[in-house]
């Protein structure tokens, strides 16, 4: 990635190399090329160049806007502008570094904090860990009647507010609030509502507290993890949590009415610690090697080497070592090959040893 500003002269140099033509002629041709695009644009409003793209004249209608400096309303006059749409071939070539990404449908309860903590690894971990924790949770919850609700709520918010991205806030608030509010309730609770009203009030109250606390802990844990994962200083946070957790664990056992707050905290902490440890373990064995972003496998070692000879392709090397052509990208990543179509002759390729994530 050089990110240089190229001029017509540079293009002309390229033409000289490709076509063995004098530089002057090449430069003239490049100028004529763009000039002609401009001219034809005026003639026909649209110019298509195969492999490059489409230039179009687009009429922009008059619209109102506000002057940035004075704050006055101003009228932007109608004008014509040139729009350029790159040809699919060029578009894909430009987007090659990101070509492997696809649009994904998010699940309803996917929290956006995961976007912050780069590895997708943290996502499954937090959910599984917090679920385990929540199973042990019910003990302290039914005991306190209505007090604990407000406590996990403020706790989870400050935790997720400063550390995770702002989008997560609106999620935290409404969901936690639905717990205490009698009106907007999940279908399950509405079913219970249809039962004799006097009894249900007692019977589903603990349930609501349970859900409220559970949600609070879930978001707290997620925020906690997201917050600690953003800075790369992983080891430091792991140490601190390991020191905390033994002290916090007994507190969870001795859960009394007033101890719900620390209990909730401690439950979140082991969860956070577990998953940080889990995520830390994985990178540590893979750190020595470059990794394919978004891939299903870690590169954990070198399986062998292969010298590029005429007739060999990354594809058939991939098939030879992995019985599938899907691993070309790992070979590319391992050997720092940017363009898989161009591999220098006699290059010694390292074949990565893979391990499923």
């Amino acid at each position: 990635m050089s990110e240089k500003r190229m001029l017509v002269g540079d293009l002309a140099q390229g033409l000289v190399k490709r076509n063995n033509m004098p530089y002057r002629e090449a430069e003239e041709f490049v100028r004529a090329f763009f000039n002609e695009i401009g001219e034809n644009l005026f003639l026909e409003n649209i110019v298509k160049v195969k492999g490059f793209g489409t230039f179009k004249l687009v009429v922009v209608e008059a619209r109102e806007s506000v002057d940035v400096r004075t704050g006055e309303r101003i009228q932007i006059a109608p004008h014509t502008k040139v729009s350029f749409t790159p040809d699919p071939v060029l578009r894909d070539a430009v987007n090659k570094p990101f070509a492997e990404f696809e649009t994904v449908v998010l699940n309803e309860n996917t929290s956006l904090e995961a976007m912050e903590s780069y590895g997708d690894v943290t996502e499954p971990d937090t959910s599984s860990e917090t679920e385990q924790e929540s199973e042990s949770e019910p003990e302290p919850e039914p005991e306190p009647e209505s007090e604990p609700e407000p406590e996990p709520e403020p706790e989870s918010e400050p935790a997720s507010e400063p550390e995770s991205e702002p989008e997560s806030e609106p999620e935290v608030e409404p969901e936690v609030e639905t717990g205490p509010d009698p009106d907007p309730v999940p279908a399950m609770e509405q079913l219970m509502d249809s039962n004799p009203p006097v009894k249900t009030e007692k019977s589903f109250h603990p349930w609501r507290i349970f859900w409220g606390v559970l949600l609070g802990i879930l978001f707290f844990a997620a925020g906690y993890i997201a917050g600690y994962h953003r800075p790369v200083a992983l080891p430091a946070c792991c140490q601190s949590t390991t020191v905390d957790s033994p002290a916090a664990k007994p507190a969870a056992g001795a859960a009394s009415k007033s101890a719900v707050k620390p209990a909730g905290k401690s439950a979140a902490k082991p969860a956070a610690q577990d998953s940080t440890a889990a995520t830390k373990r994985k990178p540590s064995e893979t750190l020595a090697y470059p990794q394919l972003e978004g891939g299903d496998y870690y590169i954990v070692g070198i399986k062998g080497t292969e010298v590029m000879k005429p007739g060999k392709t990354l594809l058939n090397i991939s098939i030879k070592y992995y019985k599938s052509q899907d691993f070309v990208e790992y070979i590319c990543v391992m050997n720092g090959i940017k363009n898989p179509d161009v591999v220098p002759l006699d290059m010694e390729l390292k074949i990565p040893e893979l391990k499923q994530k």
Binding site: R5, L7, K48, V105
Partner: protein, 95 residues
């Protein structure tokens, strides 16, 4: 105007044969593609600037189904017309 008409116009202007022009245009396009693949920007005086820009990933909401989609980041090629070209357009192509 399609590619063919453009090539023949260009051939007329540059005094090349249509076939030669086609070859030259192809290699010019290939050259530009390789430039943009390396994230270079291209400035063409009195025409405009081509630049590769990174669009960040974003979350889309489908208003009908309420589904949230995560759109991946991407690199796109953008074109900004130069002032001289803009002025010429406003004047209707006369110079």
């Amino acid at each position: 105007m399609n590619n063919k008409a453009f090539i023949s116009n260009l051939a007329y202007v540059t005094d090349h044969s249509v076939r030669d022009t086609q070859v030259l245009v192809n290699s010019l396009v290939a050259e530009m593609t390789s430039l943009f693949e390396e994230d270079n920007s291209l400035v063409v005086p009195s025409f405009g600037t081509f630049e590769v820009k990174k669009k960040l990933e974003r979350v889309l909401l489908n208003p009908v189904t309420g589904q949230r989609m995560l759109v991946p980041p991407k690199l796109t090629l953008t074109f900004k017309s130069s002032n001289t070209l803009k002025e010429r357009i406003q004047k209707g192509g006369e110079e």
